[in-house]
Subunit: 348 residues, 3 copies
Amino acid sequence: MKRHLFTIGLIASFVLSAFAHYSGLFSATVQFAISCLSIIFVAGFLGKATESVAHYAGQRLGGFLNATFGNAAELIIAIFLVKDGLFDIVKASITGSIIGNLLLVLGLSLFVGGLKYKEQHFNVKLASHNGSLMLLAVIALLIPAAFAKSLTTSETMNLSILVAVILIIAYLLWLLFSMVTHKNELSDEAIEHGEPQWSKGMSILFLFLATVMVAVQSEWLVSTLEVFSHQFGLSELFVGAFLIAIVGNAAEHSAAILLARKNKIGAAVEIAVGSSLQIALFVAPVLVIISLIFGKTMDMVFTTFELVAIGVAAIIAKSISQDGSTNWYEGVLLLVVYIILGIAFYLV
Amino acid sequence: MKRHLFTIGLIASFVLSAFAHYSGLFSATVQFAISCLSIIFVAGFLGKATESVAHYAGQRLGGFLNATFGNAAELIIAIFLVKDGLFDIVKASITGSIIGNLLLVLGLSLFVGGLKYKEQHFNVKLASHNGSLMLLAVIALLIPAAFAKSLTTSETMNLSILVAVILIIAYLLWLLFSMVTHKNELSDEAIEHGEPQWSKGMSILFLFLATVMVAVQSEWLVSTLEVFSHQFGLSELFVGAFLIAIVGNAAEHSAAILLARKNKIGAAVEIAVGSSLQIALFVAPVLVIISLIFGKTMDMVFTTFELVAIGVAAIIAKSISQDGSTNWYEGVLLLVVYIILGIAFYLV
Amino acid sequence: MKRHLFTIGLIASFVLSAFAHYSGLFSATVQFAISCLSIIFVAGFLGKATESVAHYAGQRLGGFLNATFGNAAELIIAIFLVKDGLFDIVKASITGSIIGNLLLVLGLSLFVGGLKYKEQHFNVKLASHNGSLMLLAVIALLIPAAFAKSLTTSETMNLSILVAVILIIAYLLWLLFSMVTHKNELSDEAIEHGEPQWSKGMSILFLFLATVMVAVQSEWLVSTLEVFSHQFGLSELFVGAFLIAIVGNAAEHSAAILLARKNKIGAAVEIAVGSSLQIALFVAPVLVIISLIFGKTMDMVFTTFELVAIGVAAIIAKSISQDGSTNWYEGVLLLVVYIILGIAFYLV
């Protein structure tokens, strides 16, 4: 009964939102409200699908699939921005996506999970590797920025392209390491589950479908946000790094928080941290390579504000997650840093 | 017998110091010598009182009370400075207090305790949380400084006030977390003590009395220090960040070292680290809020030198304390960083 | 039989290389090829000698001796450079030696060892102390650079000399701590070895002889490298920090990798990390003191590029080694950072 109501709400709100978007009959405010309602439903659908896949595939692979589908949407949006040469917005949204996952998604997951469970645990070896990979991401963004002042434009481009290629190789080797050669060392202990709602094939199909719906719905919401932000006089940097990132990561948010509430904190961490690592070590470098095809190269030189934001996010997330044990106050710490960064980006 | 001699010395030196301060009959050098003698006695008294309270209340709460009483004195002095608009001296003394506790007090405690015991242990979960909170303190000071250059004065003020409010909330939630919801997880193992000297009520009364005496005596000593520093041509930054901080933290010094010698390293760490966290996450933000009342807002933008000092102190203290095990060489490492910072601040 | 062939190859290639160097009859390219062949043999000889000494003296002392002998050669070369006032090249080669050991030697050891063994372990307490000492090294280099802009030249010199003296004291106390007072706490578990090739006295003699041969051979190779680098238009910074450092650390490379392959990862880490700590905390400060004797003081102010390189190397190496467990991917991470730094230094 409850399940049927959910299905009806999901389809109805999605169709209504599509109509509002394409007809243009409603005001921006009404469009925004409908989109928000719909995103709650599709995000809930995605969360269920992820959980079901995690049941069959294990927490880590389930989390990885969720992060990847979530980022696929962002990658597609970013490619269009790169094509138009809007490199500053691309970098702002990469920054926002990294800190949004590390601070907001992870912070909310730990907080919400910690309110229910006194302490939650995940694989400590994975936590340690995640921390080192976050440092690599920060280093890979810091070095081009630190050296760019003494380099010519073409030297900066060469440095960016080479760093991009190296990061892609490092990320692929990480997948080889974590999914193949050291799969068992990094997995969480098996947790007893009840029977899942759907079959294995159905779960994967629904995961795919839900991700597409979230991606499409996110884009509709983003388009109403742009109207909003102009009305309220918000800067491009703030909109790109916070508003778009929050909405664009709706998939990660809903799934991670749902999993944390079910004490599957390992999968929640994999979604939040895994997603930000994928953005930094794979999506960003791939965008640099893709920009080559469009004939106008995007460099990897981020602004000082962006570097500070990514750096502090990585360091506090590493510090909090490195013991493989989490609680509600660690969630608070992450959220506090996110709010402080949000205020600073809003004012600047 | 020995106890009576101590009581006589305590009262006699304190009265003599008061007379010297208010009569103005003695030269600055003599006043300084009397103050130093008196501070040794009152600091010893405070150490005994803290230890006695720690016996009844546990190492952590005892340490917390000691840190709080110690910082109450500093807060009062700082409020007068804020009222007079001497913001640079306030920030220098905040910096000095943070690094003095993290490097000098903690360093001496580990060193002195480590000479007696090969290895000393304290709660590793607490160490981990302390480390994350130290990072939050550094981040909260770094972000206003990093963004201030691109902000107007009023935007910087708004950022400072908002960050201050957020830090106070985060600190209060930390007390809720560490004293209420996760009290047992963060406590040290019970250690067998002998019978304490005083009853529970007497211990708290003496802790309060001793703290007031230390605060008053510190102020008298600081006033002679100012005459001294002018004679020797020391910079305001050096006097504020090192001389005043060392004397003003006499309470923390004496208590922490005494506890380390008695193998109660958990309480010593709580005093040193807890005190610096309280300064960074509570005292400094409260001063910003209080400055609003006086009509002239103090921002949270620290100088590069101050940020470097706080940053390196937090990072080395975090690195050393994170395994919950300490030894004499870790004390040396902290003291070495303190000395290097002292030389740099003296020369600059 | 195999052993005799090795001895013949060792002596023949060394003599040929000496002849090529002093006669000047061959072209730079031929000299370079002969030197490379010879360095493979002498490095192999050194590896065997280190391993044999490690058998008698334990992994840590064996590693320490190897690192010290290896650095003695570099110290001697650097003294000649200091005498000639070539301070920039000295600092570049110090930088190169630190990051070469932390990233290249350690990275290759973990990678090569990790291909053979799924996980390798070394003393986790030692890892923790190594990490803290690396931070001290970074802090000691950061502070003079951060304060230098506000200091006069003579004040910078005073700061440099005082920091140098403090670091030397800290390093000597570290030896006291790690070799005397806490020797057992920091040692690796005994590993069963087969019978070593040589007696105890013979092993030490060969270790000494092999180190001298590597040092001499390195210098010959460096002299051909200089010709090379001019031909290919490489910058002094790149040659000093990368080419010379790689060749000059041949001793550490060969020994560490050989030990990692034999699952003696504790000795490999001691060589790589111990060597870089010795460079930062002992060799560099000693060079500052020695420069005083020559009448022209070398300061401790490193360039931003050098600080970034040393800082990121220390942070990633600390992050990777702190759990006392290593695998092939951790080697990849270190090598990736080394390659990125190499490209940046090459372009700048």
